[in-house]
């Protein structure tokens, strides 16, 4: 309201200065009355006044000044219209009844329509009218687009069903899965539209050049199922892998720059994912609540926020009632007991032991993977027929097995630690994360060892092919005595081929992901479905109750599944550069996963007994995703910057390093000054100061953020103090704040006060106990304090009357050992005694 009055006053001044002298007095009177009315805080009245005055103003103004006056009142009117528009925009956030909203909406819309036309008079009216029309069209377009977007969102019904049966936490996994599906769909669009499709449509067909053809020695087995399942044969020499793409700078009629596009898409995938993840994190950040501490509002939160309004299934509801009751009982027990002062040393020893065991597990699994990858290199050198299926797929098998066996192992070891379930969950998640990360990076390191070996062998092959070529040219020219030598007429499948390490890496990734998918689906099938079938049907003829006792039905493992999804996405990000078809594979996988897991959860799982969320908001898992994104960026960047591409396959063949494509494009295709610009920009003399500047900015922002945090804690403390003082004022007890007590001790007047009455001894006991735990008072402590205080106040009558008048001279009521009265003067301002 104040803002409105200010605007009104400014508007008035503007209008006033524009008026001719004759009209100013009338106008003054009118505006004064407007001001008075506006302070009554009803916008509608102002509007009606405007409506009433408008004809008078426009008629009383002289004809010659009509333009200038309508300009002045136009400004004020425009402001009114803007206000009305704002009201319309925030209408849905108001806690009014729907009828009132509809009425206000209609009024506001009529006002806007009526005066928007009127505002169009005067200078720039055409522009204004155009602007108004475009805004309206934009709003309508945005609304239609939003409608269309919400119509496109798939699986709403499915998720709602899962929600009503299992509550919001299980459903959050499926919402996350759907989000991932959307992300992968976009990435697939990029990859397919900008890399795969151009190569297929405009590039050379299969069989025309060596890299696109199956070599002669492999051709008999190229169509076998076993070879295809290993992604060899025709799969290997198809558009799914890096090696298929040709290194011509431009292809086809449109002169599409494929190598450049390949590189940019490879990097752009990371850029887009980063942008989307950060945007989602920012959106989720508002949901998490203000960051209250764990113990602040235990009971209030349990009472008001524990019921999940999404539940629509009777069994789930019963489960929820039971879990809420248990949770209350636990909290009550926690309140009433003292902290059990157990053997801290034993606990610490057990925790150290558990961590040691787990670290050794992690180390063991890392070594196992390294060993297995090395063995697979040896197997690759042996003939394929001598190897069993197990030996061929050893790496993937071992990795999946580790991912399956280790997490339950960690959980069992963690029993030694005896943490609160929420903390134990965080530890478990951290350990699983470390396991997956360790496994993935060990796998990568072993793979890159292989790559360097391949690069070595490639040099040899390259030298030999060049030697053969030189031989051919010299023979030809010496034989036919010409210098114009046609290229050797060798069938593409007969040409000597290098090992093409990128395709090799791509194949490894694809095999890993496929085996991961297989293991996940099998686990669900056996671990959930078969288990449920056994429990259900064997229960009729078993000694103990299978449903309530040992195996029973499985609960949906939210954190395990979410982590699995995150790591799967990490592998996709890593592998997409070497195998463009991988993103398409992932889209299919996520689609089938959605249906399969929805069916499995509805059919075989029961709702959780106790739900512990890993974090306050979804940002925990988003943060993990961001971390995985950075970690999967590293190998790809390393490849682009350091490793040299294969000489005879892929879009970068023939270059020294992969990013040379960009350099070439800048030199040859872009105008000269851009080249100069880039060479200046990459000058170390420029980069070092830029880095320094960024470090300084980081330091500054860190300092600012610390200052804000400090201010925040100070405010919280102040609020806490004010609250306690207020309570004490109400209960008329002695001050419990240590600071205030110290102040009292310092006051000289204390010695003049007569010794306190019999009421005094109990409060000091209470006060001291509370004081020893302040300033940060936990509700636990408060509980004891409050109980005791209650006993005390029942035991001894309170001689102090409620404070209703100003403190007189220092002969006040006995026991009033307080100095300046803290309560009313500070904080709440509840209209205490007037202070003079």
């Amino acid at each position: 309201m104040k803002v409105l009055t200010k605007c009104c006053i400014e508007g008035k001044r503007n209008i006033f200065n524009l008026l001719p002298v004759s009209c100013r007095s009338d106008f003054k009177a009118i505006m004064c009355s407007i001001r008075k009315l506006s302070t009554l805080a009803k916008r509608q009245y102002k509007t009606y006044i405007f409506l009433m005055i408008f004809p008078f103003i426009s008629s009383s103004g002289s004809e010659s000044d009509e333009d200038s006056m309508s300009e002045g009142e136009m400004a004020a009117l425009k402001e009114e219209v803007e206000e009305k528009k704002k009201v319309i925009a925030t209408l849905r956030n108001q806690p009014w009844r729907m009828k009132k909203r509809l009425v206000v909406l209609k009024e506001a819309q009529e006002f806007v329509e009526k005066f928007e036309g009127a505002l169009g008079k005067g200078k720039g009216r055409k522009l204004y009218a155009y602007k108004v029309m475009m805004t309206k069209k934009l709003i309508k377009f945005k609304r239609d687009f939003e409608n269309f977007k919400t119509a496109c969102i798939p699986w709403e019904r499915k998720i709602k069903e899962v929600e009503s049966h299992f509550g919001s936490s299980v459903a959050s996994y499926f919402i996350f899965l759907r989000w991932m599906y959307g992300l992968n769909l976009v990435l697939f669009g990029f990859m397919f539209g900008l890399v795969i499709l151009p190569e297929i449509l405009m590039g050379l067909p299969y069989g025309s050049i060596p890299r696109k053809t199956v070599p002669r020695e492999e051709q008999e087995t190229a169509m076998d199922y076993s070879v295809l399942f290993d992604f060899g044969g025709y799969c290997k020499y198809s558009f799914l892998f890096y090696g298929y793409y040709n290194n011509e700078p431009t292809i086809g009629v449109l002169k599409f720059r494929l190598p450049l596009s390949y590189l940019l898409v490879g990097v752009g995938i990371f850029g887009y994912s980063l942008m989307v993840v950060i945007r989602t994190m920012a959106r989720n950040a508002n949901e998490g609540g203000d960051g209250g501490e764990e113990g602040d509002f235990t009971f209030s939160w349990k009472m008001f926020t524990s019921w999940d309004y999404l539940i629509g299934n009777p069994e789930t509801a019963d489960n929820k009632y039971a879990s809420i009751t248990t949770s209350f009982k636990e909290s009550i027990v926690d309140e009433q007991e003292n902290q059990k002062d157990e053997n801290i040393h034993l606990r610490r020893f057990l925790r150290v032991l558990a961590n040691f065991l787990i670290v050794s597990c992690l180390g063991g699994s890392g070594y196992l993977i390294y060993f297995v990858v090395k063995r697979s290199q040896e197997f690759a050198n042996m003939k394929k027929d001598n190897l069993s299926w197990f030996e061929k797929n050893e790496v993937e098998f071992v990795m999946s097995l580790l991912g399956l066996v280790c997490p339950p192992l960690f959980e069992t070891i963690a029993e030694l630690e005896d943490y609160h379930p929420r903390i134990a969950l965080k530890w478990q998640l951290g350990r699983i994360f470390a396991l997956f990360l360790g496994n993935l990076y060990t796998f990568l390191f072993a793979l890159f060892d292989e790559v360097t070996a391949k690069l070595e062998s490639e040099k040899v092959i390259k030298n030999s092919t060049e030697w053969v070529l030189n031989q051919y040219y010299s023979n030809y020219s010496s034989f036919y005595n010409t210098t114009d030598v046609p290229p050797p007429a060798v069938h593409p499948s007969d040409v000597i081929r290098g090992p093409c390490w990128e395709t090799g890496v791509g194949i490894e990734f694809v095999k890993l992901i496929v085996s991961d998918i297989q293991v996940t689906y099998l686990t669900i099938l056996i671990g959930d479905f078969v288990r449920a079938v056994i429990v259900r049907f064997l229960n009729y003829c078993w000694c103990w109750d299978l449903e309530a006792g040992f195996p029973s039905y499985g609960e949906f493992d939210i954190s395990g599944n979410v982590l699995g999804l995150i790591f799967n996405q990490g592998m996709i990000w890593m592998g997409a550069f070497y195998a463009p078809g991988l993103v398409g594979l992932n889209v299919l996988r996520l689609l089938s996963s959605m249906y399969y897991q929805c069916w499995a959860v509805m059919c075989c799982n029961v709702p959780h007994e106790r739900v512990f969320k890993a974090s306050r908001s979804n940002n925990f898992y988003m943060g993990l995703l961001l971390l995985v994104l950075f970690l999967s960026l590293l190998p790809v960047v390393y490849t682009i910057m350091t490793l040299s591409p294969s000489f005879d396959c892929g879009p970068f063949s023939g270059q020294e390093k992969m990013y040379d494509v960009i350099m070439e494009t800048i030199e040859k295709d872009l105008p000269a000054f851009i080249g100069n610009l880039f060479s200046y920009a990459t000058n170390p003399g420029l980069i070092l100061p830029a880095v320094l500047l960024m470090v300084l900015a980081l330091y500054y922002l860190n300092a600012v953020s610390k200052a804000y945090q400090q201010a925040n804690t100070d405010l919280k403390k102040k609020m806490q103090m004010a609250r306690d003082e207020e309570k004490n004022r109400r209960n008329n007890k002695d001050s419990t704040n240590q600071v205030m007590k110290d102040l009292e001790d310092l006051l000289p007047n204390k010695s003049l006060i007569p010794p306190p009455t019999e009421e005094e001894p109990p409060p000091p006991d209470v006060v001291i106990e509370k004081g020893s735990k302040s300033p940060k008072m936990k509700p636990g402590a408060a509980a004891k304090g409050v109980n005791l205080q209650k006993d005390v106040s029942l035991a001894a009558p309170n001689p102090r009357a409620p404070v209703t008048r100003a403190p007189g001279p220092r002969k006040g009521p006995p026991g009033n050992a307080r100095g300046p009265q803290p309560g009313p003067g500070r904080g709440r301002g509840r209209g205490g005694p007037p202070r003079h």
């Binding site: 209408l91 849905r92 956030n93 806690p95 009844r97 729907m98 009828k99 909203r101 509809l102 909406l105 609304r143 939003e146 409608n147 919400t150 119509a151 929600e163 009503s164 919001s168 508002n286 949901e287 998490g288 609540g289 203000d290 960051g291 209250g292 602040d296 509002f297 009971f299 209030s300 939160w301 009472m303 008001f304 926020t305 524990s306 019921w307 309004y309 999404l310 539940i311 629509g312 299934n313 009777p314 789930t316 509801a317 009632y321 809420i324 009751t325 209350f328 009982k329 909290s331 009550i332 969320k613 908001s617 207020e726 309570k727 109400r730 509700p779 408060a782 409050v786 709440r828 509840r830």
Partner: protein, 187 residues
Amino acid sequence: MGNKQTTFTDEQLEAYQDCTFFTRKEVLRLHGRYRELAPHLVPLDFTNNPDIKVPLTLIVTMPELKENPFRDRIVETFSEDGHGNLSFNDFVDMFSALCETSPRELKTIYAFKIYDFNRDNFICKEDLRKTLNKLTKGELTPEEVTLVCDKAVEEADLDGDSKLSFSDFENMISKAPDFLSNFHIRI
């Protein structure tokens, strides 16, 4: 968007889209749900804003509400007459306030109204007792109930009047991590 429907005029649909968090399709779907509660009572044609109210007993049979311990209070809060008989406007209002895109402030206001059983604009101990009994289906002993209610008041009450005013409630809820995800009905 060009679909032929005769339930609402286009202006009505635009108005609903301005006043709630729903899209056009969702408003039409809501009308379908409203109608299937009482097909003989609710007409198909809403273009002239008929004054129809569906009684409380029918509304709480909806699958979204039927397992909720606070279903009666929710419906009463959003009804104009205070007895739980919802007109279509109130019906849409209810689901709009409880939907996913509804802001925290709005949800806090309605949560306060729902938990205030005696409608005196304070959540007193009696309201807390009723809330707790509904949540635990009477499984706690009376002493435990009293203890929990006292604790809750002590935690959240800032002005020391041993009941929760709206500002106390808002201060407590604004820090709760689960509030937004739990106080949400999907329709």
